[in-house]
């Protein structure tokens, strides 16, 4: 707030030109199934951790595509690797292995 009585909100603009594409390419090489995700959200709806953490594989993949790995980490750090999402994924992605690969590629700390 300032002397005007209102303030600027940051725009939700994602500049893909500034995104780090190298890491995402490494992830695709390691786990090509990441490209199969259609962001349906079945993984989130079956997630055991979602009730008490911010877990969302769907949002994490979108964040990585948009070059925002810090945001992706926030969505994945609550994952318990139980593997329920693997059973429900309609595209047959081995989501459990994908999450482990994301942690390895981006050097996320568990």
């Amino acid at each position: 707030m300032n002397k005007f009585g209102y303030s600027l909100s940051p725009a939700s603009v994602i500049n893909l030109d500034n995104a780090d594409k190298i890491k995402f390419k490494e992830l695709i090489d390691l786990e090509p199934d990441v490209l199969k995700c259609m962001a349906c959200g079945s993984c989130v709806s079956s997630c055991s951790a979602v009730n008490f953490t911010n877990s969302s594989l769907r949002s994490a993949i979108l964040s990585l595509q948009n070059g925002l790995p810090e945001k992706a980490y926030e969505y994945l750090k609550g994952c318990m690797l139980c593997g329920k999402c693997t059973m429900i994924c309609p595209r047959g992605i081995n989501t459990r292995r994908l999450i482990i690969s994301i942690f390895q590629t981006y050097n996320f700390k568990k």
């Binding site: 005007f4 600027l8 909100s9």
Partner: protein
């Protein structure tokens, strides 16, 4: 998008504009915000292009601001508009031209509503007769005044004294064109070039020697949005919209902005000051802002009108930097002098923007 693709889209969205005899209605806010624009429009069309433009002091607001702020219902707006059409009929005109984009959108919306629901037109006729004892007919052609300047843009270019060219570099000026949302976003077929790539201002810029800047947020709202500005608590939405547009156009280093709406030039002009105050950021060269103009002001400038007669001293962002680039002469001592050298008073200057 490549230019050829745009040309194809522009070809699909063309409308007929009559050559002469127009009934002209003014905007309720433009005369306060940009006082010489409508005067310049009438002077150019009547005295330079020799067209018949009739206006009457009996016309009123279209009710657009109250309608879009949820203060009056659509039935009231339709009756106000029917009264304007009744005046047009009374003075023997068929071609209706309005100066305001919100009015243009509202007239289009009303005509489409009457087309889809004829019983509402009958009801409006009844309301008008009960309240004013007037009868109306729908206009044969409806146009916005920027459509008229667009139609005669080449005639204006023939009479032009200056071009939108940087005299120091010889390059065309980089111009951002901003179209009011109500021009063609609601009814794309009613605007030149449609909604996605409107051509009405781009055509003027090209005809007068400039180069259109194509930036990502080109079609984004200026930030007025009626309720977003009129309710003070919501003004953060308004200025954030404008900020997003400026951040998007900044890398293209535009020399000027042209608009065809009453609200857009005001907000793009004044919010530059507010953004500079809040963030210390300016979008023009060397601490200046980007000058913002109405299309009438730009038509007047290229035709050689005195910049101070066009009301450029009323802008928040100084326009001298652009006048120097084009090579238009002006007397700095006359900037704040009115009719017959009357002293208009010098405003307080902001410290954060030149």
């Amino acid at each position: 998008m490549i230019y050829e693709g745009k040309k194809k889209i522009w070809k699909d969205y063309q409308k007929e504009i009559p050559d002469d005899h127009y009934f002209y209605v003014r905007s309720c806010i433009r005369q306060t915000l940009f006082p010489a624009s409508e005067k310049t429009f009438l002077d150019i069309t009547r005295n330079k292009l020799h067209k018949d433009f009739f206006e009457t002091e009996h016309h009123t607001t279209c009710g657009g601001i109250a309608y879009h702020s949820d203060v009056i219902p659509q039935e009231t707006v339709m009756t106000i508009i029917a009264r304007q059409f009744a005046l047009m009929k009374k003075y023997g005109y068929e071609n209706y031209v309005c100066s305001c984009i919100t009015s243009f959108g509202l007239y289009t919306e009303t005509l489409e509503t009457w087309h889809e629901f004829p019983q509402l037109q009958e009801k409006t006729a009844e309301n008008l007769w009960k309240s004013c004892k007037l009868e109306f007919t729908k206009p044969k052609y409806l146009a916005h005044s920027s459509d008229i300047i667009y139609k005669f843009r080449n005639l204006i270019a023939e009479q032009a004294k200056y071009k939108l060219i940087n005299q120091y570099t010889g390059e065309p000026l980089k111009v951002v064109e901003h179209i009011g949302c109500h021009y063609s976003k609601m009814f794309p077929s009613k605007g030149f070039g449609g909604a996605e790539y409107p051509y009405v201002l781009a055509g003027m810029i090209e005809a007068w020697g400039g180069e259109v800047v194509d930036y990502p947020e080109r079609r984004h709202c200026c930030g007025f949005g009626f309720r977003q500005y009129l309710v003070k608590a919501n003004r953060g939405y308004s200025i954030s919209n404008t900020h997003k547009k400026f951040e998007s156009m900044e890398p293209f280093k535009p020399d000027m902005i042209i608009t065809n709406c009453p609200g857009c030039p005001y907000f793009l002009d004044r919010w530059q000051y507010a953004i500079a105050e809040m963030e210390g950021k300016t979008y023009g060269e060397n601490g200046h802002g980007i000058p913002v103009f109405t299309y009438e002001e730009v038509a007047g400038l290229v035709m050689g009108y005195n910049p101070w007669d066009l009301g450029l001293q009323n802008h928040q962002i100084g326009t001298e930097i652009l006048l120097d680039k084009i090579g238009i002469p002006y007397d700095p001592n006359m900037k704040y002098k009115g009719l017959n050298n009357k002293d208009l008073g010098i405003p307080e200057f902001p410290s954060c923007i030149k």
